[in-house]
């Protein structure tokens, strides 16, 4: 049930409201086509996907977990959650952003090439950011780094002038803080 007399009544008013980002955790049946259903829902209804990750999380129960970072007005986010919940193979949808504090992390593999001072500087910054060196040649490093999205963004930004070659990122995975599951 929902009582919201103070909110603007119609969508036109709502579209002018500021948009927000939402991290959705979606527990789905691990079956063929389920990801296509979720993605098709977003493209078909014109919702944004800022990031999406998926992997099986419970083999015995045959469950996969999809984490989607999306953005929109509060009404659109509410609609996204309802539309996801409506898909037949979806077990549970949680808007982690709305439901309290949560942790969101992603991992990146970052390749930086260079020699001399730039190479030393890259390594020094990587150390400060607690990035791990997972591959090294005399003229390159691959750093592995885990953290919040903005931390990864900052590190990648710093690597750019130091010989950034390419970046591979996982997208966000997230989980609520505290003892309760979704």
């Amino acid at each position: 049930m929902l009582i919201s007399p103070t909110l603007p009544r119609n969508i036109d008013a709502m579209t002018e409201a500021t948009t927000r980002q939402a991290v959705m955790a979606v527990l789905v049946e691990n079956e063929a086509g389920v990801l296509a259903r979720v993605i098709g829902l977003f493209s078909g209804r014109g919702y944004n996907i800022d990031s999406l990750t998926v992997a099986p999380v419970d083999e015995a129960k045959n469950l996969s977990r999809i984490t989607i970072v999306t953005s929109g007005t509060p009404m659109v986010i509410e609609q996204i959650k309802a539309q996801l919940d409506r898909l037949v193979p979806v077990h549970k949808v949680a808007d982690l952003t709305l439901e309290g504090p949560h942790i969101a992390r992603e991992m990146a593999l970052i390749k930086v090439a260079g020699t001399g001072e730039r190479r030393v500087e890259a390594l020094r910054i990587a150390d400060a950011f607690r990035a791990r060196v997972v591959d090294a040649t005399t003229e390159s490093f691959v750093f592995e780094m885990t953290g919040a999205t903005d931390k990864l963004d900052a590190f990648i930004g710093l690597m750019r002038p130091l010989g950034l070659v390419e970046v591979s990122r996982t997208g966000v995975v997230a989980i609520a803080r505290g003892p309760k599951g979704i």
Partner: protein, 638 residues
Amino acid sequence: MPLAVARARPARPPFALMRGAKAGSNGDEIVMSAIQASAAEAPTAELLPGAEIVLRALKDQGVEVIFGYPGGAVLPIYDALFQQNAIRHILVRHEQAAVHAAEGYARSTGKVGVVLVTSGPGATNAVTGLVDALMDSIPVVCLTGQVPTHLIGNDAFQEADTTGITRPATKHNYLVKDSNQLGRIIHEAFYVARSGRPGPVVVDLPKDILIGKGRYSGVPQATHRSYRPVTEPDPAAIRTAVAMLKAAKRPIVYAGGGVINSGPEASRLLTEFVHLTGFPCTNTLMGLGAFPASDPQFLGMLGMHGTYEANLAMHGCDVMLNIGARFDDRVTGRLRDFSPNSRKIHADIDPSSINKNVRVDCAIIGDAAKVLRALIAEWKASEAKLDTGALAAWWRQIDAWRARDCLRYRQATDEGAIIKPQYAIQRLYELVRETGRDTFITTEVGQHQMWAAQYWKFERPNRWMTSGGLGTMGYGLPAAMGVQIAHPDALVIDIAGEASILMNIQEMSTLAQYRLPVKVFILNNEYMGMVRQWQELLHGGRYSESYSAALPDFVKLAESFHAVGLRATKVGELDGVIREMLAVDRPVIADICVDQKENCFPMIPSGAAHNEMILGPDDEAPKGAAQPGVTEEGMVLV
């Protein structure tokens, strides 16, 4: 064929073992385990060819009739059909028509409509019907043939990615990759199609799965693992809603197709609730028949071509109760100005309908009948007093709006006068009523559809079949076919336009084959009337491609399809043609040549608000000028 048999898998190990099988290697190995119980009952399961399993599962679902069209990939099912008598197959002439026929069958009976088509073009032809059923929440199970599993993805003959194509066209779909799962999946498909907010479900059946043997163990008992629609309303929401309704001074009940889908009991409860409260009631296009049209508390249909009183009451109300409708853009008009001063209660079985278009103050998730029963009980239990003085004043206002008589039209009465389309429908209605027969009306899409909605008085649910959400021209004739199959003794009339009817005219052949005495009542104005109307009102009278050139002679057309052809060109002929049409126990096409220039009013121009409706030709802007109140923003809307 030998190849397919060779590839058929050996019978599956019991389910417990299967659970361990991991998907990684091959998508189809992923356990299709949404309902798990049946496979666990393996000892009682029978080993049958897939096609037999399909028919057994249909029989166990109580299916009596399926609408279909054969082809290579579904030949095993047609072979099995040939060898049994329990399920009747109706051979349509186009797969789109099979789905519409199933929709007509479903909507007039409350059962699930069943379709059987082949792979590739069979499936793609069915897509329009599937989307139609999706938009109007009609329970349909569509079985599609598919090339054998080993050919999937090879661009095989008559291969199409059916599950990919129909994913956004259905409520859910399945590709069966194991004959052992076939029975369970078909039962699950029926459950998904009819429960919650109903809709179409596709089951794609590769040919090797139909030939190979699998275990079948009847209707599963287990509940679905992830899909569990809420049907019981939250008592707190009911209390809040009744408190809001009791405090109302200018209330309105706005009921839609959800009430019809919930079953006849929901319509009875809606009537009881409206009588109990004394509130005015309006229906959406899909909801017509949910509340008796002859009831003094009925305001008629609302929306773009709704009545003046219904739309102004929606605009001016202070509390709105929406049951089973979805604030469709045809109903709301310009959202910003939709019922600006009301508090809104929205009862819907689909949570995603809540706050989709219009933000509401109280949401009730549940089945319409259960919601209405709870509202009635709470209304009686609540001690709050309704302001009857305010309600009486509200009714006086509504009666003043009613006095505008917005559905008035001018019909010259001399014998040779040209027939107004509204008059044709009104006479049809009156003469049908004289027969006292149980009558079902289907329509195509356009002006005739709106006139039928305005002038036919539906007293009962499930008697009105129309394509509301998708607006599919060509819906009416096949839908009427499905209705007539379900109700062989009833009078079934497709109110059509001359343009729409040509979109599925081939089904006249099906009518002849099965001796279905459907009456096709064409309002022939030689134009795609609604297109012409919009071109007149919004595009300066430039009638681009909206003239129905080179029309067939519908009388001869009827005769060539073994039906009766009739024509009326002037007022003096109308009653005679209608009487003859009703008297004949055969399919009939009645070609009613009507005024070509007539427009459908009242009308809320696109992008306008409820209180900006055009009542009739006298209200129109001069030809060539855009309507006042139609903004550029509105022009973009359809």
